[in-house]
């Protein structure tokens, strides 16, 4: 009897596993197609490409762009911009999230409201003013300008994620530290930040992903080719290389590589970031 039930369970598990793998393969097919196209022989995308590439080559990955610049130097621009944005985000968002998560003041609700509105705001709303102001301030063609602009997306998001983490800390922990004679800033640095560490990792990874993928602000604020970020280069290449799909798909793969690496190491934090930032608010 028991073994019969176990057998039934085993069969049902196997069926669901097969369905699950089938669904996953179908859903992720675009990624498979991108990667296999990027390692095909140049020009083989014109003929009827087979499902599995016949030969493998990586020349598209070391190709230089039209301007004789290696794709990896644009990669470095993107690294600089997303790291800078993330550092700026973390420095500003952690104390702010702590304040609105822990203090019981009347002013807290309107501040949360501002961050929630900012999180929903379309970038095009502030694009024109930022372009006009940055033109006057000399922040066009400057990575700092893109970082400041990208942070309009990452800071509200991080504050809203981190607030929920700070809110969930038990009051006793804070009080114990204060009774031990620690000042409010020491308590914040030595107790609050370590306790919310998972939340901080989440905010960092979300900021990295969001700033890595930004195109609108780089498109508007960076006109000098050498300063451009990777998403922008992929977009420009689509206009210039039009039919060299193996190169375009190599560029797309390069854009995605850091995302995959982050996914492998930080999956748990990214998923909790999505849920904390959306459902709990």
């Amino acid at each position: 009897m028991i073994s019969k039930m176990k057998k039934k369970q085993l069969i049902s598990n196997a069926i669901f596993l097969i369905i699950g793998i089938g669904v996953t393969c179908l859903f992720l097919f675009p990624l498979y197609w991108m990667i296999t196209t990027s390692i095909r022989e140049p020009g083989s995308t014109f003929t009827n490409p087979s499902f599995f590439p016949e030969s493998v080559q990586f020349s598209a990955y070391v190709m230089q762009t039209e301007n004789g610049v290696s794709i990896w130097s644009y990669f470095m621009n993107s690294v600089v911009v997303s790291l800078g944005t993330t550092i700026l985000t973390i420095i500003l968002a952690i104390p702010a999230a702590y304040a609105i998560g822990r203090f019981n003041l009347k002013i807290v609700s309107p501040i949360i409201f501002v961050f929630l509105v900012a999180q929903m705001m379309p970038s095009s709303l502030i694009l024109t003013p930022i372009f006009v102001t940055f033109s006057n301030l000399g922040l066009i063609n400057n990575h700092l300008g893109v970082m400041l602009a990208d942070a309009t997306i990452t800071i509200p998001f991080s504050v809203i994620i981190l607030r929920t983490y700070f809110k969930d800390i038990p009051k006793e922990l804070e009080e114990a530290a204060l009774i031990d004679g620690a000042g409010p800033y020491t308590t914040f640095l030595k107790i609050m930040i370590p306790v919310t560490f998972p939340g901080i990792i989440t905010a960092i990874s979300m900021s990295l992903i969001m700033s890595w993928g930004d195109m609108v602000f780089s498109l508007t604020l960076l006109t000098r080719d050498r300063l451009r970020t990777l998403p922008l280069i992929l977009y420009k290449a689509m206009g210039e290389l039009g039919v060299r799909w193996e190169i375009l798909m190599a560029y797309a793969t390069i854009v995605i590589i850091p995302i995959i690496i982050m996914f492998v190491f930080l999956q748990r934090f990214l998923i909790s970031g999505l849920t904390a930032g959306s459902v709990k608010g």
Binding site: S12, F16, L17, I21, V23, F27, P30, L31, W33, M34, T45, N48, P95, A96, Y98, A99, L105, I107, I111, V114, F115, L116, V117, A118, M120, P122, S124, L125, I126, L127, T128, P129, I130, F131, V132, T133, S135, N136, A149, T152, I155, P156, P184, F188, M215, V216, L234, Y235, M238, W245, L248, A252, I256, I259, I260, F263, L274, S278, V279, G281
Partner: protein, 304 residues
């Protein structure tokens, strides 16, 4: 004594929140106000270095409201958003149900399917532009291989098919978002209710509509409103895949605002369109904030 403590508390609060508050005032609040101001003046490439022209009243709005492009873009934005939700929500829900089952490997598979959500929109647009290519795209090849079509479809050359292509690309990126949020909500459902229902002889369909759906209602509402907001402000995908074309058949409000500001360098018209987009978004956005506040209050009541 009490008020002194309160002042001290407020000062402490401000010392934590001020850096971010200053940033938000300079980079978000000031630009929003500035954007409103620009839309009531006439600023273009010729005069923006000098600060633009003086106040022109509602002239800019009068002009764009007469422009059929605005109405076409508004309709396209709505059509795009609604079709995206119609597909991504049920697909995401179905995948959430599948990967919430306790079979070996389910959590890993759910995790891997999360990847498309993290991929930059430009890359998504690039991949799908390639797959929808009329001559060498895999989608036409597959459809012809299955004998569903005789001739290759020129996907991005016609209005309706171009719209379908951008919707499909966006759905691919949107499904994981729906799947993860709904799967997380599914794991919070109490299992004993289901066990009791099974004992009472409820069919799987009954259990789904009588237990799962009602219990998941808050999460579903939240996913749909957020999905609406994220989809309604779409820009990168359209800009890269079709740049609003062919003609203006995939032009949305974001891309129209960008076109006015940065192709025609008519900053006032661009600002005005962006303001209209923002007002439309805020109607849904305020509803979402209301949901969040409600949940906040409920969770507070439960904990303390």
């Amino acid at each position: 004594m009490k008020s002194k403590l309160k002042t001290r508390n407020t000062l402490l609060f401000l010392s934590f929140v001020l850096p971010a508050a200053i940033y938000m005032i300079l980079m978000v609040i000031f630009p929003i106000i500035y954007n409103i101001a620009i839309s009531f003046r006439d600023i273009n490439l010729m005069n923006f270095a000098q600060g633009g022209s003086s106040f022109v009243g509602t002239e800019v709005y009068k002009t764009i409201f007469k422009d059929p492009l605005l109405w076409i873009s508004m309709k396209n934005t709505l059509v795009f958003t609604i079709w995206c939700l119609i597909f991504q929500f049920p697909i995401g829900f179905a995948m959430a149900m599948l990967f919430s089952r306790h079979f070996p490997g389910a959590p890993s598979l759910r995790g891997i399917n999360f990847i498309p959500w993290m991929i930059p929109m430009v890359a998504v647009a690039g991949i799908f532009k390639y797959m929808f290519n009329a001559d060498i795209g895999i989608i036409n090849r597959m459809l012809m291989g299955l004998h569903l079509i005789q001739e290759p479809i020129q996907w991005l050359a016609y209005g309706n098919t171009a719209m379908a292509a951008v919707i499909i690309a966006n759905v691919w990126k949107g499904v994981p978002f729906n799947m993860i949020l709904l799967a997380t909500a599914l794991t919070t459902l109490p299992e004993d209710i289901y066990e009791a229902a099974i004992i009472d002889g409820a069919t799987p369909v009954q259990r789904f509509f009588k237990i799962t759906v009602p219990l998941l209602k808050p999460a579903m509402l939240s996913v749909l409103t957020l999905g609406f907001i994220y989809t309604f402000k779409v820009f990168d995908l359209i800009y890269v895949m079709t740049s609003g074309g062919p003609g203006s058949s995939t032009e949305v409000l974001s891309s129209l605002a960008y076109r006015f500001s940065f192709s025609e360098y008519n900053f006032s018209k661009g600002a005005a369109v962006a303001n209209i987009l923002f007002i439309l978004l805020m109607i849904v956005g305020l509803f979402y904030i209301y949901l969040v506040n409600k949940e906040d209050k409920e969770s507070k009541g439960g904990r303390r």
